[in-house]
Symmetry: C2
């Protein structure tokens, strides 16, 4: 066997912490330049990439395992919204000085748990040092039957607009994370506070609904930059408009409590980022079946409005009047 | 049409500069959450990821178009070494404050030229702001016939060791870049200086040889972290040793001139990074055919040694004695 002296620090680190995650045969235990995927017969591969940078997308003191799970789940959420079954992922990680092996061990442990849970194994990657900010970029792969990927651009006039889970929790969570005194202003219980903080820290991607999206949606996308802005993107891509009844947008008990204390938070709720829910358009007669499949997966599915004729606008109607947002779409950019 | 006010700065930037590069139908003009690839029949997909960080892998004042081409070519080099034909790529870019649209325009122009030249279109990506260092990460996809990817771990005792192009130019180029006075010490002509600087700035991936690698190699990998270290990786993965005749390692005229002026540079040449050549093991009787295909592509192919029994060592023999390297493998990490 080669002595440890023959192997670089990078190889040692990869072998110890990430090698055990590379469970797919095509990952070659991370001992090759590249990975191999044999595509399932008659399937297309769905490809997506998303990443996080310390201080931009997460707080530097977030638990390393949760950082890993967040960035993988951000990508899994894109696959879910496209109706795709996860196949695996590649990861690039850039580590600043001062990141110790214990951080990496905890990061890899969280990543491995989620990779196993979502059936999305590590296929390969790239490790580097960076002068300042830790960053992680993941490219995830999924499979759909040939030609069946659910797109943004195919919503039809008359479709129902449906959203999964609840909206606005993560955007309220990040406000709480920055200013703990808001717990009091919003009159939140400890449980409500923890719910909002947790929804920011760790997305809950709706991969359990991918098959239902694939069967029923005319168009779909994941809600990551705010419901208002993301729905407007879907409308622009489809050449339609949407009319949303704000009162029907699903909110958690915690978000309802915060909103009752400060009605102006409706803008944060509808335009803040990091929901990682799915917004979809589907023929109205399909909603009951979609909701039944969502129920089985333990995820709420709520009809919030309609697709109408128009050119890209998503109107959010409250008390009979359209809301005007100062900043319709959240952008980290 | 939606007004510009409805569209975020990120969407505008992506649409203007990267949208025109997304020429594959499955890229949906970058207007979706994900891209689709329909795998060629009976093929495996080969996946690789590699990235650059300003100040680590390139100089912040490098021309933006060359930065783009470098990071794409780093990934193309991995595909070439695996015998894979490029299909496309995803790119994540993180931009620090102060990067203007003119930088991005030049970056996108360089990227587009190479994507067209190598037949490897942009399929999707992710754009973010970062507090400090610009970084770019690419995940590239290629195709090989099912089961045919050329691996690191399959070199056979008795194989010839062959390397493409010339070795050490980029490692000498980066020394010149950091200390211009070396031009005089090494007694280089202007042409020789420019050759070494250019080889560092812009890899020349050997994708023209991918089919020849696929047909003839027992094992292969791209040389990106130094010939000595990378060949040792191939030997460890294959459970073999390699005996290399240093006198046969192909050097450019510029590298020969530098080495004549300073014989200690042999360590830089053999262990420095950024060669982006291919090192391969093949049955000796296949070398003539491989070299003929390389000749047709205008790339040198040189037999530099043999695969022997052993456990992972790559011995570089000069004047009858094995060289001992202070640092066998270059690692940015």
């Amino acid at each position: 066997m080669p002595s440890d002296d023959d192997i670089s620090a990078e190889e040692r680190l990869i072998a110890r912490y990430f090698g055990p995650l590379a469970t797919a045969p095509g990952a070659f235990g991370l001992h090759d330049d590249a990975a191999v995927v044999t595509p399932p017969p008659d399937c297309d591969l769905v490809l997506t990439t998303d990443g996080v940078i310390a201080g931009v997308h997460f707080f530097p003191d977030d638990p390393p395992g949760d950082v890993a799970r967040k960035v993988l789940r951000m990508n899994l959420s894109d696959l879910a919204a496209k109706g795709a079954r996860p196949i695996g992922f590649l990861m690039s990680i850039a580590l600043p000085p001062g990141i110790g092996e214990s951080w990496i061990a905890a990061f890899a442990a969280g990543l491995g748990e989620d990779a196993a849970h979502y059936g999305c194994p590590l296929l390969g990657g790239d490790t580097d040092h960076t002068p300042v900010s830790l960053s992680v970029s993941i490219t995830a792969f999924g499979a759909v039957p040939h030609g069946a990927m659910i797109r943004r651009s195919t919503a039809k006039v008359g479709d129902s607009v449906v959203v999964t889970g609840s909206i606005g929790d993560a955007a309220l969570g990040v406000l709480l994370r920055k200013d703990a005194s808001l717990v009091k202003n919003w009159r939140l219980s400890n449980g409500e506070r923890d719910h909002l903080l947790g929804r920011y820290l760790l997305p809950r991607p709706r991969n359990a609904l991918a098959a239902a999206v694939l069967h029923h949606a005319s168009a779909a996308m994941d809600v990551s930059d705010g419901l208002a802005g993301d729905l407007a993107k879907l409308c622009r891509a489809s050449g339609v408009a949407a009319e949303i009844d704000v009162a029907r947008v699903p909110l958690s008990a915690a978000a309802r409590a915060a909103l009752a204390a400060d009605p102006a938070l409706i803008e944060t709720i509808l335009t803040g980022g990091d929901d990682y829910e799915i917004v979809l358009a589907l023929a109205p007669e399909r909603f009951a079946a979609f909701r039944a499949e969502a129920d089985k997966a333990g995820v709420a599915a709520t009809e919030i409005g309609r697709i109408a004729k128009g050119q890209g606008a998503a109107r959010f109607i409250q008390d009979g009047k359209p809301l005007a947002f100062a900043r319709p779409s959240y952008s980290h950019f």
